[in-house]
Symmetry: none
Amino acid sequence: MEPTKILLAEDDPNLGMLLSQYIRAKGFKCTLATDGEEAYSAFTAGSYDFVILDVMMPKKDGFSVAKDIRGIDRETPILFLTAKSMKDDKLKGFELGADDYLTKPFSMEELLARVEAILKRTNKKEETHLYSINNYLFDFNTRILSFQGKEQKLTTKESELLKVLSKNIGKEVDRNDLLKAVWGDDNYFNGRSMDVYITKLRKYLSLDEKVEIVNIHGKGFKLTLK
Amino acid sequence: MEPTKILLAEDDPNLGMLLSQYIRAKGFKCTLATDGEEAYSAFTAGSYDFVILDVMMPKKDGFSVAKDIRGIDRETPILFLTAKSMKDDKLKGFELGADDYLTKPFSMEELLARVEAILKRTNKKEETHLYSINNYLFDFNTRILSFQGKEQKLTTKESELLKVLSKNIGKEVDRNDLLKAVWGDDNYFNGRSMDVYITKLRKYLSLDEKVEIVNIHGKGFKLTLK
DNA sequence: AAAGGATTTTAACTTTCTTTAACACGAGTA
DNA sequence: TACTCGTGTTAAAGAAAGTTAAAATCCTTT
């Protein structure tokens, strides 16, 4: 996969160089524009995956650059760099489709964290990761399944399987769909492996009488509440 | 439909204003509270569809606000905003009925995506598949047929067949329709298989004198109450 | 690179569910 | 009446899923 291309518009030459080099050091391609007009023409000329705009820039401020970019592109994520002094009324500018903002001063790691968070989210939409299964609570992030204070740490496969089932409480999940979602392949042997995991999940979920994984013979499984 | 009302509690004025305006820009109504006490009184005063709580707030932290809210309302979704430094053990606080949490820093888009995912998930409640057949009660979800406390667990085919018949109590169900509904195909062999299941269902339903599956020769079956 | 532990897969055996087969019977029809 | 067809019933065969333990793989640490 080719590297993500980032367009950075920042008029302060010191900060601009510093940030662009840092971004490059982290494995992205980065183009630096030093004013708003330059930023917009760079955007139209090349194809970028991400845009970082300083709000206050000569010739064309960050908001109007964003507005123009949104005129031709509704997708590419835009992140604003704002001064702390910014007034509320200016914040309304975000309504034109910004994805995030960062208040100066900020650390470079912080900037990168935001960029990566947004990229991650826009590439594949992030899902909620907390599932309530009657009296159980399942946190997909920490992979902890808890019931009245008792915690059970799940393995990767266990939690991926439980996630898909939890998303479909009361609804049948096709056996092959389940296999493709968790194993990526619905062959016979993965199926047997899944059956082993179903047994394990049932054991974990046995503390709550009302929670049950039922099998639909020849079809799939269903997580259901009495 | 009127817009979803969101209560946002965030003590950082910059972030608070920004988020609330972003939320409004996305078509929600949003009230901003700047500390925990204000958040709780706002919640009791108005009727909100969603609550977003910063965990660390002056006067009353997010957890205790959530606890108090849950004291009077078990339904309304709650989402926590947590600091990155927060340890897993602190996450235990979530068992008091949070629907999700988001770790700072996050993008605004991410916040919105979570809110929408939770709303989608909580709005559709599991439909009950409960059928009453005179003194029998049949739960299609759990596949349990009960009669005066006695429970009989049904198999997939048994329960699918009984479901169709239960939906049509007193009405004749055409043999071929029944086959297509349960087996997907009304060939001769499936028909014989169905006859075997009819026998089984009759056995299960024999505890109640008034319940009967009658055959209409050459046509189909009918579940009737005497 | 090897050890040790955790995780996942494979394997073997068991149980449950579904279909098939065989035979019985009674309703509708020639 | 007798004959056929549709259904009733039971048992056995076959297929899917449940369970447990061992083997293989993957990860982390040294």
